[in-house]
């Protein structure tokens, strides 16, 4: 085969892969919308009532129902909703009285910022700890790491958040308290990305940057601890499996140093399953942790979604669910791409 035809083959393969991706993503999205939409409509809470209040007259109630379009059949409502969504209109939130899209643009970056730092801590510590535990299997190092990871599994988030605040904020004063920045820094930098650290850095306002980091570090570390627990355990078990493989013995027969045996021969093959674990942990953090966001007064998506649910604010619920769904799809696709880069067998 000449290189030219193989090139066209490659281009075709890439195009069809992208095409397939778009179609699958669209279908997943519409499916997600359908499920959330219909669940939202069949649960026994009345969105009209949450707007007009329970002392409204029947006329007021009916008028509001018609204004909200809830008098139409479910199918018609759904189709109208899908049409709106594809034009970027997620409707209006009844609790904030703003468009859901602008609400999400405000709350999602807050969660994104915390989750990203959290997963960075979780991966940065969890992976080396897991590898270390596996390399020292059965020793006290392994035991300590396992107990540490088990703690991350079993300690409730709100408790750790509160204790963290008491110890590191109230007692030691190492970190700043709840909220994203100190009150007198609020609104100082223009929210371009919604990520406080990035906005402050873009504006060159380092005082705000360090203050925001000060606020962010504790909740992010707590989230990081939870993902660390999972990541370290999984890394340890993947690594133990690897270290029992024949090619590890081969490497030792060659006289390769123990460091290389572990990090090159042992670790490289587990990068692929690890990506799945990390991707899922990250996605879970991006859903927003209601507990942590509540304890730290963090205006994130977890908080927003919970408040919306309690207020029967269906547009906000649907909008948040779609964003979270989109995040999952995106992270899964990203993992797929990384697999292909890292594992020669899947190319």
């Amino acid at each position: 085969m000449s290189t030219n035809t193989s090139k066209t083959h490659r281009v075709k393969a890439i195009l069809s892969a992208i095409g397939g991706f778009v179609i699958v993503t669209l279908l997943t999205f519409v499916g997600l919308m359908a499920i959330t939409f219909f669940i939202g409509r069949v649960i026994p809470i009345d969105p009209v009532l949450s707007v007009v209040g329970d002392r409204a007259t029947q006329e007021q109630y009916d008028a509001a129902k018609i204004a909200m379009g809830l008098d139409r059949s479910l199918m018609v409502q759904f189709i109208a909703y899908v049409g709106d969504v594809f034009q970027g209109d997620l409707g209006r939130s009844v609790s904030t009285n703003r468009s859901v899209a602008s609400d999400l643009a405000r709350v999602f970056p807050a969660t994104l910022e915390m989750a990203t730092l959290g997963i960075a801590i979780g991966v940065g510590l969890g992976v080396p700890l897991g590898v270390w535990a596996a390399a020292r299997k059965g020793t006290w190092i392994d035991q300590i790491i396992r107990v540490f990871a088990l703690l991350g599994y079993s300690v409730p988030a709100f408790w750790l958040g509160l204790v963290g605040l008491v110890v590191f904020y109230a007692t030691l004063d190492w970190v700043a308290g709840p909220g994203r920045v100190d009150i007198f820094y609020e609104g100082l930098v223009e929210p371009r990305t919604g990520l406080m650290l990035v906005d402050a850095a873009l504006a060159g306002d380092w005082q705000v940057f360090w203050n925001a980091l000060d606020h962010l570090i504790l909740p992010a570390a707590i989230l990081g601890f939870f993902s660390l627990a999972y990541i370290a355990r999984m890394t340890r078990s993947f690594m133990l499996d690897q270290l029992g493989q024949e090619y590890i013995t081969t490497a030792r027969v060659k006289g390769v140093s123990e460091w290389r045996v572990i990090w090159v021969h042992g670790f490289r093959p587990i990068r692929v399953p690890l990506i799945t674990v990390i991707g899922l942990s990250y996605a879970a953090l991006l859903e927003g942790s209601v507990m942590i966001e509540t304890v730290f007064s963090w205006p994130g998506i977890g908080n927003y979604l919970t408040v919306a649910l309690l207020n029967a604010d269906m547009n906000a619920v649907l909008g948040s669910t779609l964003v979270i769904g989109a995040v999952f799809i995106l992270i899964n696709k990203l993992s797929d791409v990384l697999y292909r880069i890292l594992d020669p067998r899947s190319r």
Binding site: V253, G255, P344
Partner: protein
């Protein structure tokens, strides 16, 4: 014969079980010159563990001990782990059983061979490349330039095993242990691989320990044979004399080998009471 290449005296390897430690190699002794020694025995007779114990690669919780384990004047038991790493690959090497499992799946063949060389010699990158290509040539791989970029799943079993041989011989060791080097291969390529090992070992004047369960194969490729059973050597003889072996276990094994011209309906079952006394 000059000073022996390898002296093993009273080698023991044990593993813990719920019922206490069990010796899988029970006091094995032999000496080896620059010759070809075959170790035969059934599964579980301790022959593979013997190979690994020579390289001091019995992993915890397994344990090994010996009264004497001397390679070319070097007391292996006195070596630190670092000292052993200098010997592994460079002076003593081992060909593993199944290339499907013993080659790293996410590293190219070329990188894996080069690693064996680079671990022991510091060479310029292009010299490493040249040595790898040359080594692949000598294991009869015709287009080494293409093969070095392949991953193990892209090569056949026979080629995988030749790559394994190339990898283990590139630092030019003095002693090669081949642990069932052909039992994972098709019969048609077994002879090719063994002929290749045989030729390279003779050419470079290395010592060879060929571990196998196949009596005929060992008789053909070795000068001397140890027959192992339940962790002990039950018979030691020159390869040519294998068929005159006296120990009942060896005789039993020989009798159980099917022959082309035979008319037996059933192969005999080993009568273990003859030697184990139970």
């Amino acid at each position: 014969m000059s000073a022996p290449l390898l002296e093993v005296e009273n080698l023991r390897v044990s593993f813990p079980t719920p019922a206490g430690r069990v010796d899988v190699v029970k006091g094995l002794s032999f000496t080896l010159g620059r010759e070809r020694l075959g170790i035969v025995g059934e599964s579980g007779s301790g022959k593979s563990m013997t190979g690994r114990a020579i390289l001091r690669l019995i992993r915890s919780p397994g344990r090994q001990s010996a009264d004497r384990l001397v390679f070319d004047g070097i007391d292996l038991q006195a070596q630190s782990e670092r000292g052993m790493r200098k010997l592994r690959g460079a002076r003593i090497s081992m060909i593993m059983q199944d290339p499907k499992f013993s080659l790293n799946p996410v590293m190219t063949v070329g990188d894996q061979i080069a690693e064996a060389l680079k671990t022991h010699e510091s060479l310029a990158r292009k010299d490493v490349g040249a040595r790898v290509l040359e080594m692949l040539h000598s294991v009869r791989i015709n287009d080494p330039e293409r093969v070095i970029g392949l991953y193990p799943h892209e090569v056949s079993g026979g080629m995988g095993q030749r790559i394994m041989i190339a990898m283990m011989l590139i630092p030019q060791p003095d002693l090669l242990i081949a642990d069932e080097p052909t039992s994972a291969l098709d019969v048609s390529v077994q002879a090719q691989v063994l002929d290749l090992i045989d030729e390279l070992v003779r050419e470079k004047g290395m010592g060879l320990i060929l571990i196998s369960h196949d009596l005929n194969l060992v008789a053909r490729y070795c000068d001397r044979i140890l027959v192992m059973h339940a962790g002990q050597v039950v018979e030691s003889c020159a390869a040519a004399d294998l068929y005159q072996a006296t120990h009942p276990y060896t005789r039993g094994l020989l009798a159980a080998v099917p022959k082309m011209e035979e008319t037996r309906d059933e192969l005999p079952v080993l009568d273990r009471s003859e030697w184990s006394g139970t």
